[in-house]
């Protein structure tokens, strides 16, 4: 319960800071506030993916069933947040560069993450009856987990000729001064706490589901 309360307070604080307190960035004005939402969303999707990868790895090592529950729950949250990130990203790109989609390296890596989640869940659907399902899922997740850093090396080299360098590269290289950086940090913390709560909810769902099947 404390975590929920704590997160409630931090969330409200970050909300207040984002929408009212922090000074808008030089050129972008109001829309620059979206950074404080978009970046944490992307961060949580990656965090969820990493947690799912590590959970699958430990499931392989110790093959205790609750690790696979963590991997699945974390993947659920990751899927939801990566969808949100893609939506907010493209909405914002509409303003920044005038088109909903223009192959910015950040966008492609998040989309790849979304593709990975979709692939993972389609696998999960198909193997749900199979006794080897947990093993198949975690092996695939580990393969994806190992392959994903490679894209980070590839992303900046992606179609370098077509990619216009914006005044402010909207994803991360924003010239953040101290206040903005502080607000971003708080927002990141509040979203991570939110992730933690959602993880607890999903784990609860899986535990209840397995209880149901057992009887």
């Amino acid at each position: 319960m404390i975590v929920i309360l704590l997160n409630g307070i931090v969330m409200m604080l970050s909300l207040y800071l984002i929408y009212i307190w922090v000074p808008p960035a030089a050129i972008l004005g109001e829309t620059s506030r979206i950074v404080y939402l978009h970046v944490p969303l992307a961060w949580v999707s990656c965090l969820a993916f990493a947690v799912a990868g590590i959970a699958s790895l430990s499931f392989l090592k110790k093959s205790k069933i609750n690790y696979i529950v963590y991997a699945r729950s974390s993947a659920h949250i990751g899927l939801f947040f990566s969808i949100l990130t893609v939506i907010t990203g493209s909405l914002w790109a509409k303003v920044m560069w005038g088109s909903y989609w223009n192959w910015d390296p950040r966008e492609t890596s998040i989309t790849l993450l979304l593709l990975l989640y979709i692939a993972y869940f389609s696998l999960q659907q198909i193997v749900s009856g199979n006794p080897k399902a947990p093993m198949l899922e975690s092996v695939y997740l580990i393969i994806a987990f190992v392959a994903s850093p490679f894209l980070i090396f590839v992303a900046p080299r992606l179609y370098p000729t077509l990619h216009p360098e914006p005044v402010i590269n909207a994803q991360g290289q924003l010239m953040l001064d101290t206040e903005m950086r502080l607000v971003l940090a708080i927002s990141l913390v509040s979203f991570t706490l939110l992730y933690y709560i959602l993880l607890g909810l999903w784990v609860r769902i899986y535990v209840l589901k397995s209880k149901l099947h057992e009887e």
């Binding site: 929920i4 909300l15 109001e30 939402l37 303003v95 959602l198 769902i205 209840l208 589901k209």
Partner: protein, 57 residues
């Protein structure tokens, strides 16, 4: 869960009275409604499952 409902309501209030740009409004609307609905859906799912588990015992 009610906490989040209040938080989002407050956020909308902060929105409407000041002249923030439309995109910011849309983006925050998408984000916050998404999260709140997600929480509510999960919460209801848990309640439902708990009812069925207790029902079975």
């Amino acid at each position: 869960m009610k906490l989040y409902a209040i938080v989002t309501a407050m956020q909308f209030l902060a929105q409407t009275d000041s002249n923030y740009s439309k995109t910011l409004f849309w983006v925050s609307a998408v984000v916050w409604c998404g999260i709140v609905c997600y929480l509510v859906v999960l919460h209801r799912k848990i309640k439902q499952l708990e009812k069925r588990v207790n029902g079975k015992k």
